[in-house]
């Protein structure tokens, strides 16, 4: 495939897609309007996904197969999460979409725009105002409340995949709760690195039964999954799996007695809002080793800054220069 010159078909498809959006927003005179079904998916598909979700909630941590649809975005961009969101979205819902904690990165903006266009629902960046939060690889810093739903985008739902390539066998291992292999992986980590070096997608045991991949969230976020008042749904579009953690479910990271699970710690607080005990992103400032650490959760950081919290690199503080 030649990346430089798009094929005529692709070009016309793109043009069509752009037109479709404008038609939705404002139909030019004399042209037939394209109307999407609410939240893009047809009602039968939504029913099918809802059935899978209900089953997933009934069996916490169990991967329920579902007939994942083609979505107008590539696999790996959140097709699973988008389908779950589409299936549970109602007209009164308020949607927030984050990508690695941020409301304003490509993936988050695109998916938010997608549901604004196809469902016309209200969107927000404020965690506490949202009823549904679709997330890629983070859990918001602020505590979630009962009634909220967190929808994770999952690339590879099978925690045993890299230890056992056969799906037939991993299903058997789940069925028999035969999870010794998971600990072999953790053992290897300690043997090679002196500590459990898995820092994201850290495997957890859900409700004392199924071992589950929490999607590639940093292990820093693992404790937030435990006993959360919010409903947590996981959608893997390419792998065609949905799984769930119902509210107030016990979620325990796997570990060894003498090497217990620990989360990352950051030496300094957020450079913009001064928050401690939050997950920080490293931002490179120049090519001479300059860097800053800021909250990965942009809404949390903005809210704190609006409340008057400052960090060591907060912009407008007059006496902050050197």
């Amino acid at each position: 495939m030649n990346a430089q010159t798009p094929t005529p078909q692709a070009e016309s498809r793109q043009a069509e897609a752009r037109q479709a959006e404008t038609r939705q927003a404002k139909t030019p005179a004399g042209m037939p309007a394209i109307t999407y079904n609410f939240a893009y998916l047809d009602e039968q598909t939504k029913r099918m996904i809802r059935r899978a979700i209900l089953k997933a909630i009934a069996i916490p941590g169990y991967q329920v197969p579902f007939a994942s649809r083609e979505m107008p975005m590539p696999y790996g961009w959140g097709t699973g999460g988008v389908q779950v969101t589409a299936a549970i979205l109602g007209p009164d819902d308020v949607l927030k979409v984050i990508d690695q904690g941020s409301d304003d990165t490509t993936n988050a903006v695109a998916i938010r725009g997608f549901f604004e266009t196809t469902a016309g629902v209200a969107t927000t960046t404020r965690t506490q105002d949202a009823t549904i939060i679709q997330t890629r690889h983070r859990i918001p810093e602020g505590a979630l409340q009962a009634g909220q739903v967190l929808v994770y985008q999952v690339p590879i739902p099978e925690p045993l995949r890299f230890l056992e390539p056969r799906e037939t066998e991993t299903r058997k291992l789940h069925g028999l709760a035969d999870y010794g292999l998971m600990h072999v992986k953790l053992y290897e980590d300690i043997a090679r690195h002196g500590h459990i070096a898995t820092t994201y997608a850290y495997p957890v045991e859900v409700a004392g039964r199924y071992v589950m991949d929490p999607s590639p969230i940093p292990k820093f976020d693992n404790p937030k999954m435990d006993d959360s008042p919010a409903l947590q749904l996981f959608g893997a579009g390419r792998e065609k799996r949905i799984y769930a953690i119902p509210p107030h479910t016990k979620v325990v990271p796997l570990d060894f007695e003498d090497h217990p699970f620990r989360v990352q710690h950051f030496a300094k607080p957020c450079a913009l809002c001064g928050a401690h005990g939050v997950y920080l992103d490293e931002v490179i400032l120049d090519d001479r080793g300059g860097r800053m650490f800021v909250c990965s959760d942009t809404d949390y950081c903005n809210t704190r800054q609006a409340e008057g919290h400052t960090g060591e690199m907060s912009a407008p503080a007059p006496e902050a220069a050197e």
């Binding site: 069925g175 010794g180 292999l181 600990h183 072999v184 053992y187 290897e188 300690i190 570990d255 060894f256």
Partner: protein, 259 residues
């Protein structure tokens, strides 16, 4: 362990691959601490029989029973999948001819030995490691190789590692499929010494499949000679090898090259 009660009883085991015969009407009884060799040429049904005994293959007819650790005799076909797997990785061992099939090649030696322990619930890293080092020592692998991949091991070391991995849960019965195949003779000799002393020390019952009569003579108490899927002669190892009755057994014995 009472010597009288059999550990494993096979009754008229038969296995067809489609229309083709794998093995037919094989019955045997194995007692605790007993080493049984199954010999015969390629294609005689040795490996099929081993597969049937170890539940890797389902018999077309016949049955296998095993005395579980609680003393109860169970028909292996009646075990649930979970029970079968637990049996396979606690009370049984399986040493394969090709170590790559019996080991996790991308996992360190310590992880290989520790896997069974973790599978039965060990959750203490230091404890698992201590046990792994102990077992590596018993199979003459230096403790400082514990974090190396089996890929970095020689053929003989891989085979010894496989033995350690199997014995770490103190099984009572070990199946061996040509454990010395493909190794040069000096390595073979040391491995055989090791197996013999471990078998004696731990009181293991062993079913060993081999085409090497010298291996059978060195390790086994009893021997079964197979041809065309059926057992044609069986008895005490020395007796059968020194005084073979069947023409085919006589041929086998006389085919061994004198060193």
């Amino acid at each position: 362990m009472t010597g009288d009660a059999p550990l494993l009883v096979a009754d008229k085991l038969t296995r067809y691959y489609g229309a083709r015969l794998g093995c037919r009407d094989v019955s045997l009884t194995l007692h605790p601490g007993e080493v049984l060799a199954i010999v015969g040429e390629s294609g005689s049904g040795k490996s099929t029989l081993l597969g049937l005994l170890s539940t890797e293959l389902a018999p077309s007819a016949g049955r296998v029973s095993y005395r579980m650790r609680d003393g109860e005799m169970r028909d292996l076909a009646d075990l649930s999948e979970g029970e079968r797997r637990l049996l396979l990785r606690t009370d049984w061992g399986f040493v394969r001819q090709h170590a790559e099939q019996g080991l996790r090649m991308a996992v360190s030696a310590g992880g290989n030995v520790g896997e069974r322990l973790m599978a039965v619930g060990w959750r203490n890293y230091a404890g698992i490691r201590e046990e792994a080092i102990d077992w590596l020592g018993r199979v003459e692998i230096q403790a400082d190789r514990i974090d190396d991949d089996p890929r970095a091991f020689s053929g003989g070391m891989r085979q010894r590692l496989q033995i350690a991995r199997n014995l770490v849960t103190r099984p009572r019965l070990v199946f061996m499929d040509e454990p010395t195949g493909g190794l040069d003779v000096s390595v073979q000799a040391r491995l055989l010494d090791l197996i013999r002393s471990l078998v004696a020390d731990l009181g293991l019952a062993v079913v060993i499949v081999t085409h090497d009569l010298a291996v059978a003579r060195l390790l086994s108490h009893r021997i079964m000679v197979m041809k065309d899927g059926a057992v044609i002669e069986e008895g005490l190892t020395d007796q059968v090898l020194d005084d073979p009755r069947e023409p085919y057994t006589q041929l086998l014995v006389s085919s061994v090259l004198a060193a």
